[in-house]
Amino acid sequence: MRAKRIPNLFILAVLVVSSAIALFPIYMAVINSLKTQGEMFESFLSLPTSLHFENYSQAFVKLDLLHSALNSP
C-alpha cells in the first residue's frame, strides 16, 4: 500500500533548489557589497578577496541614509 508516494529525495531536491533561488539575489547583493568596483566587474560570483567595509560607511554618508531612514518608518 505504499505505492504512489512522491519520493523523499525529490521533495528534498525541490526544497533545496527553491531555497537556493530564494537566497541567490540576497547572496549576490551581500558579497558584491564588500568588493571594490573593479573587483566586482571582474567576477560577480567570486568571493571578495578582502572585505571592503568602507562601502557601507560611504553609502551611509553619500546617500545621507540616516536622514532617509528617519523619513521612512
Partner: protein, 294 residues
C-alpha cells in the same frame, strides 16, 4: 449588565463613531471626490472645469491604445500570478509539511524574500539580470542564460513575473502552512485507514479543509496583481517605450508626469477599481461555496 432600548444603541454608536469619522474623512470623501472628478475635464490645477459626462470613460476604452495595452498586459500578469503564485506556494507548503527536522529552516529561508521591500528586490534582480546572469552564461557556456531580460518586452514579462513570485510566494506559503496545520490529524488518519493514497488524501481531505485559506490567498493575489506598480517600476520602468506598462503606471503618467489630465486619470482609476471589484466579488462568491466545516 444588559442595556436597554436607546441606551444600547447610544453605547454602540459611541464605540463606532470615532472610526466612522476617520473612515469618512480619509477614505469615503476622497473616493467620492475622485469618482466625481472622473466625470470632468479637470487638469489638477485650474479653478474651473467642465462636466463632460462619460466622455473620459469612452475615450479611455475606445481611443487610448496605450491604456488598452496596459490593461491587456496587466490582465496577462494577473492570470499568470494567480496560477503560479498559488500553485507554487501550495506545492512548497505541502513539501515543507513532509519535513520533520528541517521544517523550520526551509520555512524561514523561503519566507525571507518577502521581508525585503519590493523596490529593493527589483533592484537586486536588475543587477542579477543585467550583470550576473550574462557573466554566468559566458563562464559556464550555458548560453540560454544570456537573454535581454529587461530589454525585450516578451522576456521582461517573465522577468517581472519571476521577481513578483520570488517576493510573494513566501507569504502565501505561510498562510497555506498555517491552514494545513489546522487540518485535524484524525481525518487524515481515517482516510489512511480507509486505504486512501497520499494523493487522494490530499485532494479529498486536505484541499477541502484548507478552502478558506485558498479563498484568502486568491483574494490577496487577485487584488495585489491588479495594483502592481513597484516591481515593474524597478525593473523596466514600463519600457522599452510603453511595452511593459501596467495600468497603475499608465494612470500615474496621465495624472502627474505627462499630460496632467487629472479628470481623465481619475476615470481610468475608476475603471481599475470597478474591474477589481467585479473580479474579486466573482472570486469570493465562487470560492466561498467550496468551503467546508470539519
Amino acid at each position: 449588565m444588559e442595556l436597554k432600548g436607546s441606551k444600547k444603541y447610544l453605547s454602540l454608536a459611541a464605540f463606532v463613531t470615532p472610526a466612522l469619522i476617520l473612515y469618512t474623512l480619509f477614505l469615503l470623501i476622497p473616493t467620492i471626490g475622485g469618482i466625481y472628478y472622473s466625470f470632468t475635464d479637470w487638469d489638477g490645477l485650474n479653478q474651473d472645469y467642465n462636466f463632460i459626462g462619460f466622455g473620459n470613460f469612452v475615450e479611455a476604452l475606445r481611443d487610448d491604445p496605450d491604456f488598452l495595452h496596459s490593461l491587456w498586459f496587466t490582465m496577462k500578469y494577473v492570470v499568470f500570478m494567480i496560477v503560479l503564485q498559488n500553485g507554487l506556494a501550495l506545492l512548497l507548503a505541502v513539501f515543507i509539511e513532509t519535513r520533520r527536522r528541517t521544517k523550520g529552516l526551509f520555512r524561514t529561508v523561503l519566507f525571507m524574500p518577502n521581508m525585503i521591500s519590493i523596490i529593493i528586490s527589483a533592484f537586486m534582480w536588475t543587477f542579477v539580470f543585467s550583470q550576473v546572469l550574462p557573466q554566468l552564461a559566458v563562464k559556464t557556456g550555458l548560453m540560454f542564460l544570456d537573454q535581454s531580460y529587461l530589454g525585450d518586452p516578451k522576456v521582461s514579462f517573465f522577468s517581472i513575473l519571476i521577481v513578483s513570485l520570488w517576493n510573494g510566494v513566501g507569504y502565501l506559503m505561510i498562510i497555506y502552512i498555517a491552514a494545513m496545520q489546522g487540518v485535524p490529524q484524525s481525518m487524515k488518519e481515517a482516510a489512511m485507514i480507509d486505504g486512501a493514497t497520499p494523493f487522494q488524501s490530499f485532494f479529498k481531505v486536505t484541499l477541502p479543509m484548507i478552502a478558506h485559506a485558498i479563498t484568502i490567498c486568491l483574494f490577496l493575489t487577485l487584488n495585489n496583481a491588479f495594483k502592481v506598480y513597484e516591481v515593474v517600476f524597478g525593473l523596466t520602468g514600463g519600457g522599452p517605450g510603453r511595452a511593459t506598462q501596467v495600468i497603475t503606471m499608465n494612470i500615474y503618467e496621465e495624472a502627474f508626469s505627462n499630460n496632467f489630465r487629472y479628470g481623465y486619470a481619475n476615470a481610468k482609476s475608476v475603471i481599475l477599481f470597478v474591474m477589481i471589484l467585479i473580479f474579486t466579488l466573482i472570486q469570493i462568491k465562487m470560492t466561498k461555496k467550496r468551503e467546508v466545516e470539519a
